[in-house]
């Protein structure tokens, strides 16, 4: 079931990964059987509301907590049997920061390089490279306590890539950043992909999942409810909505469009004088529609296309809106 993509180089693969937290009073099944396939070199997004199990899954894959059951392979190493190998090959950027305010950015990077096994000289060279790449040179020798939120988050990413990992895990990389810092973080993440790094990130921002990620999985209550590219998800679940304005000729237009093969569903709102069609791809459907209407001598007063958002996908799958959850 998970071996359907033999051609692509699989970087992360999980099979029925589960994690249960037990406390005195209750048992919480935070992750309830996650199957994932992340290809080498892609930006993979894990989208879901707070408490959906995103961070728990990420922390399992980063060797921070042990799975209750299930298996995973990360960067070619078995998560359960070779956690040291996994650690050597991955980078992990936690959500709440990872630096000591009294230490300088450079000091943190050099130490991190050394903890990954570099010599002192190599670690210094690499720290300078990372500082330059992330545009932190001016602040390199200041305590990280003086950094802005965006700078600190870039340094966190720098700490995650010091050892040139094959996979970088980012937990909510842009939460709490202003729009400018967020756009900048997206650029850094794309740069990493350009260098061949696989990026696995969690987010509860729809736009981030939509714009940044090559593929994504939507998780809710510890289960994956949808997986694919943003476009695939939107098509599979919702389809595009085409709205045609009709003046009195509604019944004939409805009959006509219902006979067209690419229309999934159509409805007539007589009061508003509108026909609503659900189609797979709105931008290719509209020229067809216009030609057919014209040939039948019907004149629409308006035509508009609405693309479904990832929120529509989430809404269809879970009955709730992610926008409301995030607010």
């Amino acid at each position: 079931m998970t071996g359907l993509t033999p051609i692509r180089n699989v970087m992360i693969q999980t099979t029925d990964l589960r994690r249960t937290f037990k406390s005195r009073k209750s048992t919480v099944e935070a992750v309830q059987g996650v199957d994932l396939n992340v290809a080498a070199g892609e930006i993979f997004g894990f989208l879901g509301p707070n408490g959906a199990g995103k961070t728990t899954t990420l922390r399992m894959l980063a060797t921070l907590i042990k799975p209750t059951s299930g298996d995973a392979t990360v960067a070619g190493a078995d998560l359960r049997r070779q956690p040291q190998l996994v650690r050597q090959r991955i980078g992990y950027v936690p959500q709440g920061g990872s630096t000591d305010p009294a230490e300088t950015g450079r000091g943190e990077l050099v130490l991190q390089g050394r903890l990954y096994g570099m010599s002192g000289a190599d670690a210094k060279v690499r720290a300078s490279e990372v500082l330059a790449a992330l545009d932190l040179e001016a602040a390199a020798d200041r305590g990280t306590g003086t950094y802005s939120g965006g700078m600190r988050r870039r340094l966190d990413v720098g700490l995650g890539i010091v050892h040139r990992p094959q996979v970088l895990f980012l937990d909510e990389p842009t939460t709490g950043l202003d729009p400018q810092a967020r756009a900048r973080m997206w650029d850094e993440i794309r740069n990493l992909r350009a260098l061949g790094t696989t990026v696995f990130l969690t987010t509860h921002y729809l736009e981030e999942a939509d714009v940044l990620c090559d593929r994504l999985a939507i998780i809710d209550h510890g289960k994956i409810v949808a997986e694919g590219t943003s476009d695939q998800l939107k098509q599979k679940v919702a389809g595009d909505v085409v709205t045609i304005g009709v003046d009195g000729s509604g019944a004939s237009v409805l009959t006509l469009v219902e006979s067209m093969p690419f229309v999934r569903e159509a409805s007539h709102d007589a009061d508003a004088g509108l026909i609503r069609l659900y189609v797979d791809r709105g931008e290719t459907a509209i020229p067809h529609l216009l030609r057919s209407l014209d040939a039948a001598g019907l004149q629409p007063t308006s035509i508009s296309l609405n693309k479904p958002s990832l929120d529509d996908v989430f809404l269809r799958q879970t009955g709730r809106s992610l926008r409301e959850e995030a607010a």
Partner: protein, 274 residues
Amino acid sequence: MTAATGTASVTSTTTTIERNPRMRALRDTWLIFRRSLVLTIRQPTWIIFGIMYPVLYLVLFGPLLDGAVRQAGAGVSAYNWFVPGLLIQVALFGSAFVGFGLIAELRYGVVERMRVTPMSRTAMLLGRSLRDVVLLMMQALIMIGLAIPFGLHIDAAGVAVTLGLLALIGLVMAPLSYAAGLALKSEDAFAPLVQGIVMPLLLLSGILLPMALAPDWLRFLSSINPLTHAVDAARALFNGDWGNSEIAIGVGLTAALAALAVWVASRAFSRANA
């Protein structure tokens, strides 16, 4: 650039992994020790309070005790009795609260960041604990130096062994404190717990007043407190009383407890934080 070529270039990292786990642990311990020491020295508050606290005892409590001893007509310097106990007290308090710093590091995310690296888990503990021991040695040397003008007589070899004993006390208390910090993760829970353990240890150790004054039940409780034996050992060492069997008992007991504490705490660091 295709994903495949990109990945290939990424795998050829410049890192040279230390294959021997023991060498790796030593190297990582040194790295963590150095970092912790530098960061501590950058915080002037530690320097001020770490020195001020024992000095206050020496200046504001020492003369009182000295007067009391003179009145009793014991004919010895109260400082030779008081300073070794005070050193043990400093070692106890100085290292029992180091878990506070770890809780801060947990909150900064520093500990988690290091856990994701392949570094030695024991080194996370030992690097920090050795920093605490070094700071403790500095405090102790300053205190001994300051106490000499007050009338402390020292036996050089005895002082050297006492410093070793203090280091062992640091290696009992600091690892336990770190383990408690890891488990509790909150200062609010940590402070009362440590106070609740350290205060009885202190009161039952005979550091402040001789246990000879105590009723039998209290003296019994004191005799099963390992710290009492460390205090007795330190006093014998300061006086050059090498024939005293308390030296071997105090040092031996503390060394055994240090080994146990390091073992327990390094297990706490190794466990995945569930």
